[in-house]
């Protein structure tokens, strides 16, 4: 009898203890889809999410990796079916299209109340806006393109420094090419995807002989000359024609293997210099796309947005504000080998410090792609023009005039910002 009573008392006590836990509101389950696949950032997003889950009780986030292509398809299909995650990652030039497709929630009001938007660099933040200036997400990391130089090969060709202008760059590319050793002077990606356009744009927006131009004026002399420089590299055997099938990784691998003296590389490649393994001395400098003291580059990077129909929009935006806070931005840049999207974030890089400084400087000359809802069509016109020069030997002026035939009606209907 005593035992039964004791059991009863214990049972009631346990019930009482568990009641507050039941009564307290359970955090909303939030799904986050990302395509970070490098080992450093793939682990970092999991750690970041775990940390956020432990410091608040409003939402509980589960981060899921979805390959980039699959994620993009999912957004397109989800725009109609409504099958979307709560928070989604997107490549910055694609964001405008997905905003137009209704994939992301307008979170302008909450972000403006946050009061930190003025700390973000304009280029990356612009990519989160629609044509009316409404904001649909936050830029989480950014990057740009610069030039990687194999100093051993440059020295062997009689140069003790990196190129500082287009003319010198052309000289060096020619001088370092060595067919007998299978070494090309220059490597870049010109594949028929957004990656190709990303790498081509600095040369088309070349600031040679004055100001650089935007993609609505690619028949300008400076743009034609930029493409001609690259076309001549291919025609003269200074750059492999295979660049039309190379991704940016492929082009960097050519450099890392010592098969290319100079290469157009992204900020994230700084985390991959282990592949060089001390085989040669290397350095980074601004892309020498124009006259002395000028450079052009393209802004890349990833944004995070809250998807339409998310369960707890306010909670999701709170997470984005935390993810893109001053401190977290700085930490992420170091871990993932990127550049912070905020001016007030300090990234204390622990490796390739000189290299990072070059990329941070290059950001001053880097331009965003679009933002434009029909950017993918503009992009296709650009890489197609370049491929026709490289593969078929089309005249650069003619190729770019062909590209403008496709681009002009698009930008006339909806001008670039």
């Amino acid at each position: 009898m005593k035992k039964t009573l004791l059991a009863l008392v214990l049972a009631v006590a346990m019930l009482l203890v568990s009641v507050p836990a039941v009564l307290a509101e359970a955090p909303t389950e939030i799904t986050l889809w990302h395509y970070f696949d490098a080992s450093a950032d793939a682990q970092a997003i999991v750690d970041w999410v775990d940390e956020y889950n432990s410091i608040q009780n409003e939402i509980h986030i589960t981060a899921t990796y979805v390959s980039r292509t699959e994620l993009m398809n999912q957004y397109t299909v989800g725009a109609l079916s409504g099958e979307l995650p709560d928070i989604g990652m997107v490549d910055s030039p694609d964001m405008a299209s997905y905003i137009s497709l209704g994939v992301f929630e307008d979170i302008t009001d909450q972000l403006e109340a946050w009061g930190e938007l003025d700390q973000f660099y304009p280029g990356p933040l612009e990519s989160c806006k629609d044509a009316d200036g409404r904001i649909y997400g936050l830029p989480q990391n950014t990057n740009c393109l610069a030039l990687a130089c194999n100093m051993d090969l440059l020295k062997a060709a009689g140069y003790d420094h990196m190129p500082t202008n287009l003319a010198e760059f052309q000289e060096m590319v020619a001088a370092t090419t060595d067919p007998a050793d299978d070494v090309y002077g220059f490597a870049m990606s010109c594949i028929s995807t957004e990656e190709g356009t990303f790498q081509l744009l600095p040369w088309l927006r070349s600031a040679a002989g004055g100001a650089g131009v935007n993609v609505d004026n690619l028949t300008a002399d400076s743009a034609v000359n930029g493409l001609k420089v690259l076309g001549d590299f291919v025609a003269n055997g200074y750059m492999s024609k295979e660049c039309v099938n190379w991704t940016q990784s492929d082009a960097f691998n050519q450099f890392a293997a010592g098969k290319a003296a100079l290469a157009e590389v992204g900020t994230w490649h700084l985390a991959m210099t282990d592949a060089i393994g001390g085989a040669f001395e290397y350095g980074f400098c601004l892309l020498p796309t124009g006259d002395e003291g000028t450079s052009t580059s393209t802004i890349g990077g990833e944004n995070f947005g809250v998807c339409s129909g998310a369960e707890n929009v306010e909670g999701c935006v709170n997470f984005l504000e935390w993810l893109c806070s001053k401190d977290k931005e700085g930490e992420w840049a170091v871990v993932a080998g990127k550049i912070p999207t905020r001016q007030d974030s300090v990234a204390n890089y622990t490796y390739e410090v000189d290299g990072f400084n070059v990329f941070v400087d290059e950001m001053n000359y880097a331009q965003a792609r679009g933002p434009h809802a029909e950017w993918p069509t503009i992009s296709e016109a650009i890489y197609t023009a370049a491929q026709s020069v490289f593969v078929d030997g089309t005249d650069p002026a003619e190729a770019l005039a062909g590209a403008m035939e496709k681009i002009t009606p698009i930008v006339e209907a909806n001008p670039l910002p």
């Binding site: 209704g102 299978d182 099938n245 296709e380």
Partner: protein, 289 residues
């Protein structure tokens, strides 16, 4: 009574009919609907798209890229069928001869068919790269190989070769099973009558294999015509659309450029071609019966 039975029969057909209506009918009808409107990135969810009749189809047939893609699709399909079928048939006749190790070698040949197409695409990308296996072997016999995947004239050839590598064992397998259905007695009596191997092949094997051969060719056409993954991985349709086929082009329009209606119109052309081939196949089958 007869009417009642008929009604009963319809009830039995109903589940299959509903299944086909939803799984095949709905997407098809929606695709036709989409291809007759101007749905794109600007109006997919916001609305405002309008009926434009056959304009998407007219635009397509005026577009030189689409005409190139259409040509690529036919060249790819016919070339693949030709080589897959003839080589597959030759191998089937060879392995039909019972000799030691014919089984294991046949099994090894099937490996290429068992490998996922995406892996085959990656293999192809490496094998046909400038310093890849093919050019390496060619250089050993003193030939400087072309830049296979870089030139618009050779990229499709490389893709065709990779597809044949996968398709040959598939053809061989189906044709061997056709060969085994012919009773050996026929050959025996033909031999006794003095028929040589060519006569036996031409007057016995070919006529008796006709339905197998037709099935293999038709299935092959359908599989090859709607190819996608091989070129998507191996060349992404490039360079300059030289390896783009209807499948990859439709995907590019719909999922990369968000021109949903134009993508649907391309898919309808793809469907139309296969539908005609399908009808042709059904007619041949009913004639056989």
């Amino acid at each position: 009574m007869a009417a009642g039975k008929k009604r009963e029969a319809y009830i039995f057909v109903l589940p299959a009919f509903i299944y086909i209506l939803f799984v095949l009918g709905y997407p098809l009808i929606y695709n036709v609907y989409l291809s007759l409107r101007n749905v794109d990135v600007k109006n997919l969810t916001k609305g405002g798209d309008v009926f434009i009749g056959l304009q998407n189809y007219i635009d397509l047939f005026k577009n030189p890229t689409f005409l190139l893609v259409l040509k690529n699709t036919f060249v790819f399909t016919i070339a693949c069928l030709l080589f897959q079928f003839t080589i597959g048939f030759a191998l089937a006749l060879f392995f039909y001869q019972k000799f030691r190790l014919s089984g294991p070698i046949r099994g090894v040949l099937l490996v290429s068919y068992m490998i996922p197409m995406s892996v085959t695409g990656l293999l192809g990308k490496n094998i046909f790269s400038n310093a890849g296996l093919v050019n390496n072997l060619l250089s050993k016999i003193g030939i400087i190989g072309p830049e296979w995947l870089v030139n618009t004239s050779t990229a499709l050839i490389a893709v065709i070769i990779m597809n044949c590598w996968v398709g040959i064992p598939f053809n061989m397998l189906l044709l061997i099973s056709g060969l085994t259905s012919i009773t050996p007695d026929v050959y025996e009596s033909a031999s006794i009558d003095g028929a040589n191997w060519l006569q036996r092949f031409w007057y016995i094997t070919v006529p008796l294999m006709k339905s197998s051969m037709l099935s293999v060719l038709m299935l092959g056409f359908i599989y090859t015509f709607r190819a996608f993954d091989l070129m998507y991985i191996m060349t992404a349709g490039g360079p300059l659309n030289s390896t783009d086929v209807l499948g990859t082009y439709s995907y590019m329009l719909s999922f990369t450029q968000y021109k949903f209606s134009q993508g649907s119109a391309v898919a309808m052309v793809l469907f139309g071609c296969l539908f005609i081939v399908g009808l042709f196949y059904l007619r041949l089958l009913s004639k056989e019966d």
